[in-house]
Subunit: 307 residues, 2 copies
């Protein structure tokens, strides 16, 4: 992959451009908004020091960027196309149809959509099979996660190829097999976000207090582990098995506006086995030691950089 | 504050003991379980290197710990009492009544409960006014957050005094004025947790994938900022105002099992004003610069410590 087209240059599109440039790609961008090019150049300028610190690939240059006046011109020779126009179905779908019309038939089109199902985006395309969702996280040039979701027309070969592409951009692709609105990461984030809005709406906490409740608590742990391994470590030596016994009943309590699933034996086993497999023979004590070393450094880091 | 009583020595109680010792307190502990003392000594041993790295207070010593055989003996001369018995109302309430009976009438009792309302815990106490929830986060000896929640009988003077106590333990106390089940931090965590269980239950993602979706994405940002400031920075120069325009409509979409509140003009303004006040005249660009410096270091740190 050498030449990448980026369609739509808002915060996300510009984040992609920076990542592509930092990884030695040649980028052709298109956005019809007045002043788009200048804003993109400024955005790259602001981000460049950070990507340099993380490490540039050979041949990486801020100058390998061209702005063109049409989608056709942007996509016609591209090896990968990244669509990042605003999150409105009609707009996105129209742009994707135009991309599809002018791109090589086997060029992968990645859509940055946060939650629209790829099957819905594939409707009416000439080559729907090469469209995947490739959903990144802000700031795109730093955060490694990208969710790869195929639609009904997408083949396994395409999601695999897409996964390899994005991995070559120093990302952590996560292929999601079952297509649902919001995919995986945004479902988790959106649950937290909606609960946070309820807390503010009900006058329980200010936005600053909600942020404080995360940054000085769970947020520190989630940087290293997600919710499952975090709870595995909170369960003492018996890990998640003990945790579910201890806090399973809380799933029935009004601790959030979100109804929990029934904690069946099957779900319990799935969660416990998942954590134990992930722990991979490392005892809770061993994992705790690693976590503690990490947290000590992270707490120092947070002190230096926030508020 | 010099002498602290800790009642209940599971993962949380032992975390408290370590924090108290690291901050130069003398600790008297009680737990009727066989082998409790040995487990506590081991837990302190495992954690001590980390608290040393974060910095011990003058006079801090692992040896300033005594185990005693009764609640009476533990609490009678204490300046602060921390209750951390298992999360079952009847058990906690019984223990708190016994603590209340033997403690000095003006000694603050902090309950580590994750979600039981302090008003419910105060029922039948001789001096209910000095009972507050002081809810910590695992690992208690490292994570700074502690939620302070008073019940109906609690005076403002007591929550203030409690707040000063916990702050002197190098913690970040957050006083929550409105008493609700789950308080603030656990409501947020529980929303994420329940959504995560739904994803696993519905076969959308494995526990490992859920964890990956957090650790390589939002988790990195949440270590430094909570959900509100994170979105403020994702909104470009117009910050949260733009973000709500862009992603407000997504609140109606099935991106989580949790119903969102109505995004009224009042709620919008509350959220926007909250973020702008917190940003405190720092532009989004300025905050982004700080965030990027932080993320570069954090990403390096995560590489070193996980998996």
């Amino acid at each position: 992959m050498k030449k990448v087209a980026v369609i739509g240059t808002g915060v996300i599109g510009n984040g992609w451009i920076t990542r592509f440039l930092a990884n030695g790609c040649e980028v052709v961008a298109h956005d019809p908004a007045p002043g788009a090019k200048e804003r993109t150049i400024q955005a790259i300028e602001n981000a460049w020091e950070s990507v340099e610190q993380l490490g540039l690939k050979e041949g990486a240059s801020k100058d390998s960027l061209t702005f063109v006046d049409s989608i056709e011109e942007a996509v016609k020779d591209a090896d990968l196309i990244q669509e990042s126009v605003p999150e409105r179905y009609e707009l996105k779908h129209g742009v994707l149809k135009e991309i599809d019309r002018f791109a090589h038939s086997n060029t992968i089109i990645g859509s940055s959509t946060s939650g629209i199902k790829p099957t819905d985006l594939q409707i009416g395309l000439n080559h729907p099979e090469r469209l995947v969702v490739a959903h990144p996280f802000n700031p795109v040039y730093l955060l490694p996660l990208v969710e790869i979701v195929g639609g009904e027309a997408t083949t396994k070969e395409i999601t695999n190829r897409a996964s390899v592409y994005y991995e070559s951009l120093q990302m952590k692709p996560m292929v999601i097999e079952k297509e649902i609105e919001g995919f995986v990461a945004d479902r988790l984030m959106e649950a937290l976000w909606r609960e946070a809005l309820h807390l503010v709406n009900d006058g329980i906490a200010t936005t600053e207090e909600v942020d404080k409740a995360i940054t000085y608590g769970a947020g520190l742990r989630w940087a290293q582990m997600g919710p499952f391994m975090t709870f595995h470590l909170a369960g003492g030596n018996a890990g998640m098995r003990h945790m579910l016994e201890q806090f399973g009943p809380a799933l029935k309590l009004p601790w959030t506006k979100l109804e929990a699933p029934e904690l069946t034996d099957e779900l319990k086993e799935r969660v416990i086995q998942g954590c134990e497999t992930h722990a991979n023979d490392r005892s809770v004590e061993e994992l705790e030691k690693k976590r503690n070393e990490f947290l000590v450094k992270l707490i120092d880091l947070v002190e230096d950089y926030w508020p």
